[in-house]
């Protein structure tokens, strides 16, 4: 009797919980369990090289202290920061520029959109081959031929030199990594009603004023979304480093340092500690962005 009453009272709630159970179970299985397990391991001295001789011991936060003297991780954080900032600027600038241009195209805009989106379909492995081809360090490398002809410079070993290694790796993603951002900007631009521009055109003809006073404010939700995506993509970057310059101190990223620590050195506890530090960094940046978003964003 009590049960019937209970079921009647909470029928709607129970239905909701039942429906939520499936995604929650998946979240629990693939994220929550991994999250806690990873955190727990980061508090131990779990290193496959020594696990058989010394076992697995609880060391509290010693790994979190040690990773900040790990040259790979420190270099990785530095390069990740540079990569994130450069890609954030480059990809969003080109993405917005291309989207703004395509929106103005009267006929065939979608064809341009499709063509410009194409590079994003190229796999990271193919992209790395193109990068290796362009930055071939011998005199037959395309870029070396160009600098030789234009500036009479000898062939450069782009990935070995500290000054050119990271910029060389960033070259292609900087110019071609805007595809997804462009699509989002394009959708954002299309959603701005033309009435705003018609009304504003009575006051000014300046396209710059229209852009900064109307387009940009109304595009701010999209802008923040793209910035958030850029930051998260930037912090998680690993593929170009792993495919083009594995083990190179001058290009290593934080996630790649984490990968090396786990898979090459089998020091899983430090690797998980690095993962948690990155998680905290991403979380803090997201919270900051959300706070800023709340203050600055303009909804129509």
């Amino acid at each position: 009797m009590k049960m019937k009453k209970f079921l009647k009272k909470y029928r709607n709630d129970l239905t909701c919980y039942a429906l939520l159970a499936i995604p929650f179970a998946l979240f629990f299985l693939f994220f929550l369990y991994g999250f806690f397990r990873g955190f727990y391991i980061s508090l131990t001295d779990f290193d496959m090289r020594y696990v058989s001789s010394r076992g697995i011991n609880f060391v509290w936060f010693a790994n979190y202290k040690e990773i900040f003297s790990n040259a790979n991780f420190i270099n990785g954080l530095k390069h990740t920061f540079i990569w994130t900032v450069v890609m954030l600027i480059g990809n969003n600038f080109f993405g917005l520029l291309m989207a703004a241009l395509i929106v103005r195209v009267k006929r065939g805009g979608k064809a341009f959109l499709a063509l410009l989106y194409w590079p994003s379909l190229v796999s990271a492995a193919i992209g790395s081959q193109i990068t290796l081809f362009l930055f071939n360090p011998t005199e037959t490398g395309p870029l070396n031929i160009i600098i030789g002809k234009l500036f009479n410079l000898p062939p450069q070993d782009w990935f070995i030199n500290e000054k050119t290694a990271l910029p060389s790796l960033m070259f292609l993603p900087f110019f071609t990594g805007f595809c997804m951002k462009m699509m989002i900007y394009y959708a954002g631009l299309r959603s701005i009603p033309s009435t705003y521009y018609e009304a504003a055109s009575l006051e000014t003809d300046s396209r710059a004023i229209l852009f900064f006073r109307i387009t940009l404010p109304l595009l701010s939700p999209v802008l923040f979304l793209n910035i958030l995506l850029s930051v998260m993509d930037g912090i998680k970057i690993i593929a170009p480093m792993q495919l083009n310059t594995p083990g190179n101190d001058y290009t290593i990223s934080a996630v790649y340092a984490l990968y090396i620590e786990a898979f090459t050195r089998t020091n899983f506890s430090q690797s998980f500690a690095m993962g948690f530090v990155l998680f905290v960094i991403i979380m803090i940046l997201t919270l900051i962005q959300n706070r800023l978003k709340g203050e600055a964003i303009v909804y129509e």
Binding site: Y17, R37, M48, S52, N136
Partner: protein, 456 residues
């Protein structure tokens, strides 16, 4: 009410997660003993072997399993084929996930490294020394020694390979004339490489590369594999005998780096940090005169006959001497088959017998080696007909390979090997940069770095 129930459920779930978080590594280093002199052919068991072969290595393994099962009918062998490039990463991760196979094929550096970490079964301890007494003599000494550290034996040697100097005879005859002789020492190698690189054909084009070698190669540690041979040819070992200190910071070690630098700056050595390009330039486009290479490329080069004279363009020679009174050593590559510590003790006798069969059964062993075009580790196999008059095209090649094989030096296996590889790659990058990075500075930094790695 519902909120309370939900809260209790969530707290219970989190507590359960935390309790389940403790990593449980299913390696068993108990003192399990097995007497290989009293073999029970009716023993039963189910074993998993990881195999990361090229396609052509799958069939010989299946044939070996069929032969094995004719004797041991109750032992089931499951083969898990793995992607070659991710093999070692996946193996490392398998210990974390408790998905480690019973048997693995590994490069000897990994055998020593994982063995030292207690992740492979010490067969010597398991058989109370009988494995060495009964089996060691069947194998070439250098290959057997590469399977362990001290008295420990962590696997049976399987395939072995050696690098020597391969040269494109067509290019060399075009540049130096029909009575061409390959270089016998460093000076000749440098001189000939420069001549090939600067050679202009009738159209005034410089079509060839001289000597190519991967340095600071981005793709895998093969550059360090070759570089180890350069050190050995100068009489330098990377580490001391007990692998506790780096022994590169000597005049001979500096001289090695000096010569590499000299080869690069003089235009004799065309290096690139991406190894496949180099191999392609030698084995496919045929534009490179000299490269250190092993017999495994046989299938790629056997049909290279660009001048259509009916002869293969590629020939082989002993490694050029770097120093007059030091033998022209090169790095010995050995892979072995090991039983992992994840193998349950009750299955270890079966695993031991299978590994022993796979590596010592002549027919099975040789089928694999001849398919791979590498050397067997079995003493008897070394003189197999295949390496004397089995393959008409390569008869003269194998005799040179055999001579070079006798001068093979394996790399020092240690748990720190991946870090040492990274340190050597960095030293190569610094060397190529020049400027303040003189060979002396580079070698000193490398030595300090490896010492700190070994002490960590």
């Amino acid at each position: 009410m519902l909120k309370k129930i939900s809260l209790i459920a969530v707290i219970a779930a989190l507590l359960w997660i935390l309790c389940a978080c403790t990593p449980k590594i299913m390696v068993d280093n108990s003192n399990f003993r097995y007497d290989p002199e009293n073999v029970d052919i009716n023993m039963s068991g189910e074993l998993t072997i990881w195999w990361a072969p090229m396609d052509y290595m799958a069939e010989p393994l299946q044939h070996a399993i069929e032969r094995f099962n004719k004797i041991y009918k109750n032992i089931k062998i499951n083969v898990r084929e793995k992607v070659h490039a991710e093999y070692y990463d996946e193996l490392n991760l398998s210990y974390l996930n408790n998905t480690t196979p019973d048997i693995v094929r590994l490069d000897h550096v990994y055998i020593q490294s994982l063995g030292e970490s207690g992740l492979l079964v010490d067969l010597d301890a398991m058989t109370e020394g009988k494995v060495s007494e009964m089996e060691a003599d069947k194998f070439l000494p250098a290959t057997w020694e590469a399977m362990g550290i001290g008295d420990s034996v962590y696997g049976f040697p399987y395939d072995a390979s050696i690098t020597l100097l391969m040269y494109n005879d067509r290019i060399c005859r075009e540049v130096f004339g029909e009575d061409y002789q390959p270089p016998k020492n460093y000076e000749e190698l440098k001189e000939q490489s420069i001549a090939v690189y600067n050679y202009e054909n009738a159209e005034g084009v410089k079509p060839y590369k001289g000597f190519v070698m991967p340095l600071n190669a981005a793709d895998y540690p093969y550059d360090v594999f070759l570089f180890n041979g350069w050190l050995e040819r100068h009489g330098v070992s990377l580490l001391n005998d007990d692998r506790t200190a780096c022994t590169v910071n000597t005049e001979a070690g500096i001289e090695t780096y000096r010569k590499v630098k000299d080869m690069v700056t003089s235009g004799a050595l065309q290096y690139i940090g991406y190894y496949p390009y180099l191999e392609e330039s030698f084995t496919m486009s045929g534009e490179t005169a000299f490269m250190e290479m092993g017999s495994w490329v046989y299938d790629s080069v056997k049909d290279m006959d660009m001048d259509n004279d009916g002869k293969c363009d590629i020939k082989v020679a002993m490694m050029p001497r770097m120093v007059d009174d030091i033998e022209p050593y090169s790095t010995l590559g050995v892979a072995g088959i090991s039983v992992t510590s994840a193998c349950k003790p009750e299955n270890r006798p079966a695993a031991y017998e299978f590994v022993k069969f796979l590596t010592t059964d002549y027919e099975s062993h040789m089928e694999m080696m001849t398919r791979m075009n590498v050397f067997p580790s079995l003493v008897d196999g070394f003189d197999d007909e295949y390496y004397t008059n089995g393959d008409e095209d390569w008869q003269e090649y194998w005799s040179v390979f055999k001579q070079q094989f006798m001068l093979g030096r394996p790399r020092p296996g240690t748990v720190h090997w991946p870090d040492i590889v990274t340190a050597i790659k960095k030293s190569q990058a610094q060397l190529l940069l020049g400027g303040a990075y003189t060979p002396e500075v580079v070698v000193e930094a490398l030595s300090d770095k490896i010492d700190s790695i070994l002490q960590s």
